[in-house]
Subunit: 170 residues, 3 copies
């Protein structure tokens, strides 16, 4: 059985995070589970989801978990590699849905520790620009930063993507 | 006596800069000096200051220097480690206070060279997003970038924080 | 004759990209070609262009290519080092000029492969902040990210600038 491991793939918009994460998972034998957190609110988002889906080869099984990500991870089959794409949208869904982010992220961290398979998490780094004027945006980037720190502390590997190339952080 | 050294800790919002910088300073024997540049303009800022302060153990002495940072550094006791958190707020205070930024940063650079103790400077990297529409924000990120370059040139060590983990730049 | 090589210098605002790229090119014997993509729309931009130009020593020849960058690269003299500063402005000019970005970037990638000299490309990393509210800004950062990924894939060397210091990506 493929042993457990936790990898965090961080990076900016269009930095090749998803593609790199898919390659990490596809390096293991199929079947692979793709946990999608995206919700198609508008046309732009529908196009992005379709683009990502069209790129993935056969061998992928998709699970949709816009909010119930910890539950989805608790149901992973031992030894079957999993990709979560992405935490940024999950966090957005939690905040817009007025869920308790602290409780949800605690559940996520616990669920990640229990996955008995390679687990690759994708998330956007959003904290390297000017302080946003919008209070919701400020709250979002604070929550994202805190979540990344906690996940990185328990991850086996952390990479920061630049122009499609991974820089090793841990 | 603990020899002098200059470390620059850069990173985005909630990237673990302060925590990492505190750990660097606490690796030396106490007493440690915390030079705070924050001014509590509003509730959000008051909460952030209180959070940072609550985290620091005994052994820290706090000096407030929202504008008079070079002077504060000239008064450092030889051999006593110092943390400045953070340059971003100091620069904001200078700009909002309509001070001469070029003069003040020249004084800061000179003062840093004269500190006879380990000195750790924390600052936010703010230049990796889209060009801000706001002219003041553009000026701020230009000034911050210039200051970081000049400090990094004379620093012994520069780290870039990602998800709470330091990447070595220098 | 100096052999061909492709270097991509990425980084945020005021991270020392241009200065580093100039030093890379000036490490080769002159003459050097500076391909400028800037258009002086306003005073702020005119000041930035003048600052950059004042810094460059004799030995540089300047070619202006706000849109016709692939053509400029096809006319490079074999063995003469070239600096393009910067792709961000070229992409901005394409988008504002309503050109076909996919066609233009395809031409750029092909032209880069044909340059028989050291070629250093400078570009801004703009995707590490909060998602911009402005649709044009979102499109711009998507196009920039895609372009960087494609160039990085065919580059011999990619660096990410932090505070004037290069971090090796590739």
């Amino acid at each position: 059985m493929i042993p457990r491991s936790l990898t965090l793939v961080l990076g900016g918009a269009r930095s090749g995070k998803s593609r790199h994460a898919e390659a990490l998972v596809e390096a293991f034998p199929a079947p692979w589970t793709y946990v999608a957190t995206a919700q198609a609110y508008d046309d732009e988002m529908r196009r992005r989801i379709a683009e990502h889906r069209a790129r993935r080869p056969a061998g992928w099984r998709t699970v949709e978990a816009p909010l119930a990500l910890p539950e989805a991870l608790r149901n992973v089959n031992p030894g079957q590699p999993v990709l979560v794409d992405c935490l940024t949208l999950w966090l957005t869904n939690l905040i817009l849905g007025e869920r308790d982010v602290a409780v949800a992220t605690g559940e996520l961290l616990a669920a990640c520790r229990q996955v008995e398979a390679p687990l690759v998490l994708v998330s956007n780094e959003v904290g390297l620009g000017i302080v946003p004027e919008n209070a919701l945006a400020r709250r979002f980037r604070d929550e994202a930063g805190r979540l990344h720190q906690r996940l990185a502390a328990q991850a086996d590997s952390v990479v920061f993507m630049v122009a499609g190339l991974p820089m090793t952080v841990k």
